[in-house]
Amino acid sequence: MRHIKKIKLSAFLDGEVSPEERAEIVEHLKFCPFCRREAEELSRVSDFLGFVEDVEVSPYFFVRLKQRITREKSKAVIRLPFKKWARRYHFERIVFPLGVTACLFFSCLIGSYLGKTIYTTRMEIEVEVSDEFADVLSMEIFDSHPEGSLSSAYNNLLLGEENE
């Protein structure tokens, strides 16, 4: 006698065979203790599965779900305009770190250039100011004082001392 394939027996027990196959298997099982034992074994597995009962869902399931959707929606508002683009170019993993690095590099470059320019300008201004200051404080300023004035006397005194 040819036995029924186990896979067919399994489908038979799940009610997943055609009426013809079903009739054939039922008939076979009447006379084949081997296949009957196989069928019983498989059927017992299904019985064991019956031990696992349903678990009740938390009564707050929908409330939490709603909160999560609201939370994700608010995040999505910020991300939405470039979401697809971000996904395509692996924004978080590649573009963002590259962008930050580039920003830092250019910041250093601009900072260095600006620092140099500001320093040069400041130095030029300082030289100009010091020249003007020297002009203002130089002794030539006393040359044109009127005769007999205190400044002229002081000037003569100094020049006289120098001449001597």
Binding site: K6, L42, V45, V52, V55
Partner: protein, 192 residues
């Protein structure tokens, strides 16, 4: 599909409203299928907190992609396809710490924490069966869960999982065979 909330309104009508952003319709849909979705995931994952998170992700996907449901298949098939994808991707993303059945069944066999929880013989057996299901390969497990707990036909399971009918037949048969091998020594020791 078992549900605790059945308004009598066809799913296709509800999902169309959901696609238009109707929050009440969405609530109706969630209430109708939360039990079934949660239990399918729970049986697959084996952890109620994780199952709750994944069930939420499933419904978020339903909310976001309601527009893409064209009604070519039954809504429950579409919903279960999302469930299966979430379960399978969860499994691949995260290696679960599974307490093996042998570990569980060795001397002192049920962990202390479990001993407290397991008050009745039925619960002890349920835990053993659940762990045995946990140890099945992912696709066998999901096919078995859909067939035995969600009462899906092989044809529906094939549609949900995107495989052929014979593959479903084979997956379920192999799952049963694996469980049979698992249960046999326990039955001899009268543990189950």
């Amino acid at each position: 599909m078992k549900n605790s909330y059945n308004s009598g309104v066809p799913d296709i009508k509800i999902i169309k409203k959901v696609a238009l952003g109707d929050g009440n319709a969405f609530e109706q849909l969630v209430k109708k299928y939360e039990h079934s979705v949660f239990n399918t995931i729970y049986r697959y994952i084996g952890d109620s907190d994780e199952a709750c998170d994944i069930a939420q992700e499933v419904f978020i996907k339903v909310w976001r992609h309601a527009k893409s449901f064209k009604g070519k298949s039954k809504f429950t098939t579409w919903l279960h396809r999302i469930v299966v994808n979430q379960c399978l991707s969860y499994r691949s993303k995260r290696k679960l710490r599974i307490v093996s059945l042998d570990e569980t069944m060795e001397k002192g066999k049920i962990p202390e924490s479990l001993k407290v929880e397991i008050e009745f013989e039925g619960k002890r057996k349920a835990e053993i069966v659940r762990k045995a299901i946990d140890e099945l390969p992912g696709r066998q497990r999901i096919a078995l869960i859909l067939s035995k707990f969600d009462n899906k036909s092989y044809a529906e399971i094939a549609q949900i999982m995107g495989v052929s009918l014979s593959s479903v037949e084979s997956l379920i048969f192999r799952a049963k065979e694996n469980l049979k091998k698992r249960f046999l020594p326990m039955r001899e020791k009268d543990e189950i």
